[in-house]
């Protein structure tokens, strides 16, 4: 009885959170679904959600998936060597390196993307550097490569940190034991470090794949308005064409897609390992 009472009073602590969820997640979601499932005159329809299969939307969706997959893979490939190097550093140096990695996140996201625009533009810093070293200038500005560079730069810390946390937790004794039993570096990585880092990797994937797929600011700034992700199309439907129904319909399809891809990562997970961040 007494125990019940203390639990009861603690429920109050969650009220800001419940308020937050209700006001900024549940109600907006209900509104989005309402818009998505109605047409301009308020009648019920699935057309807005099915609109994702129209060639223009589908193309943007495929491009978004390409960018998100590419970004995720590149982030993973960049993260593991970094984390492995970090693991062998002393505490102080380790903290400092992580600190360096996190510092850019203190700056506004848009400013960082604008900085990349300055670097990659035709007369930008990169080309200035290349020509002064006697190389041919590159035309990276307003290409999908530029968008990729932008998203990788922005989301890399979200991949490094969870993987680092997972790997830092690994007991040194386990690795010693493996080495005693004759495992070489590669075997240690494949059989011990990598499997134990999977929970971190999965939350890293969630934190990188989803935002890089749904972002539109990077594509807007670094793509020069020539390339469109599905996020750009949704933004346009809301702000320019004032077709909130179609915009919401496309958002819902995007949400469904994200949920499906997340279910995929959680399936990998259900073989007795720790759960991923979302489910």
């Amino acid at each position: 009885m007494k125990k019940n009472k203390t639990r009861n009073s603690r429920v109050w602590l969650s009220s800001p959170y419940i308020l937050w969820i209700a006001g900024f997640t549940v109600i907006p979601m209900i509104m989005i679904f309402h818009y998505a499932l109605t047409d301009k005159n308020g009648g019920f329809t699935f057309a807005n959600i099915a609109a994702i299969f129209e060639p223009i939307h589908f193309k943007a969706m495929v491009f978004s998936v390409e960018i998100a997959l590419g970004c995720t893979v590149i982030c993973i490939l960049l993260s593991y060597p970094l984390v492995m190097a970090l693991r062998h550093l002393h505490m102080g140096k380790q903290g400092f390196t992580l600190f360096i990695l996190i510092i850019p996140m203190w700056m506004n996201f848009i400013l960082r993307v604008l900085a990349w625009q300055m670097i990659l533009s035709k007369n930008g810093i990169l080309n200035l550097l290349l020509t002064s070293l006697g190389f041919e200038p590159l035309s990276l500005a307003n290409t999908s490569t530029a968008i990729m560079i932008g998203v990788v730069y922005d989301y890399l810390p979200y991949m490094v940190l969870p993987i680092f946390n997972a790997i830092a937790d690994i007991d040194e004794d386990i690795i010693e034991a493996a080495k005693d039993l004759g495992a070489n570096g590669l075997a240690v990585f494949c059989k011990i470090i990598f499997p134990l880092s999977v929970p971190g990797l999965l939350s890293g994937i969630v934190m990188v794949f989803v935002p890089s797929m749904t972002s539109f600011v990077v594509a807007d700034i670094l793509g020069g308005g020539k390339l469109q992700l599905i996020g750009n199309i949704i933004e346009q439907e809301f702000t320019k064409n004032s077709d909130w129904n179609l915009g919401s319909g496309l958002s819902v399809s995007l949400m469904i897609f994200v949920l499906i891809s997340m279910a995929f990562t959680s399936k990998e997970d259900s073989k007795g390992r720790r759960e991923s961040a979302i489910w």
Binding site: A22, I56, N123, G124, K226, Q236, F238, W244
Partner: protein, 356 residues
Amino acid sequence: MKKRLMYFIAFAALAALCLGFTGCGKKGNNGTLTIFNYGEYMDMEVLDMFTEETGIKVLYEEALTPEEMYTKYKYGAIEYDLLCTSEYMLQRLMSEGELQPIDIGDMEYSGNIGERYWEFARSFDPENKYVVPYFWGTVGILYDEDKVNAPVDSWDVLFNGEYKDEIIMMKSMRDSYMVALKYLGYSLNTENEDEIMEAHNLLLKQKPDVQAYLVDEARDELVAGNAAMAVIYSGEAYLGRQYGLENGRNLRYVIPKEGSNVWLDCFAVTKHCDDMDAAQKFLDFLCREDVAMMNFEYIYYSTPNEAVIEELSDEERADEALVPSDDAMDNCEVYTMTNTETTEMMNRLWKELGAE
């Protein structure tokens, strides 16, 4: 326990609902005006001056494009008293009954606005009842003289493939189609599907040659030397040339001979305004020479205020970007609202162009 939780959720939902609607709960009808304008389109000191002189408080909001403004006005939680937008959007608002008539004859300084501009406004406000001209200008090409082979005088340079990857187009639907339509010799207000399709195909063909589609950054890209030419608003062009000179670039603005768009941004009073007197005071204030001069020196778009034009130096008055000549204006047209089918078709094609 469970009951409590339910109570919480209900409370939270209610609180959130209240939070969402505070925007339209209060409405300042005693001495407050809510004004909606484009970004960087007014010297903020002007607003302080107005409050000081009249005691009327001003709330100020900004948007980037006419379309965005319309969406915010129509679906947003704020009720705007006054707004400044472009002619075709004003026409749309007018046709939807969103605007209140203004007694222009009653305004002390309305005579400062030249007759020519009232006539402009009549193209969409036939009786000069709803809008007061604020700034106007043209759309043209800003180009770098050192990067072109011959002086530019035609839209042709954007389509002949000579300047691959050196062109910046406008990331604005009507302005982009305007360029293609004018180049093909059609009216920029055409509702003929074949003509629009022809313009669309031209833009599609042009896309590989285009470096980027921008609005506000176009000027800076030219100043930085990243492109040879850009489709641009005249006011931006004027500033672009000034900045260009500082950076050692010879930028020139030209209104192509095939004609272009002449645009007129006006202030209008919405149906939400309860205090017509205050609104009219504000409009009158904007027409006053010293205020119009402050805004002109802040924005550097063409002003319809003849009292300000008289004050300009000869050099400034001869500047095509600041005061377009009558010759250049010959083939220029004002945008009018196209019918719904045309608007929807253009929206669809524009999206297709973006996705290509």
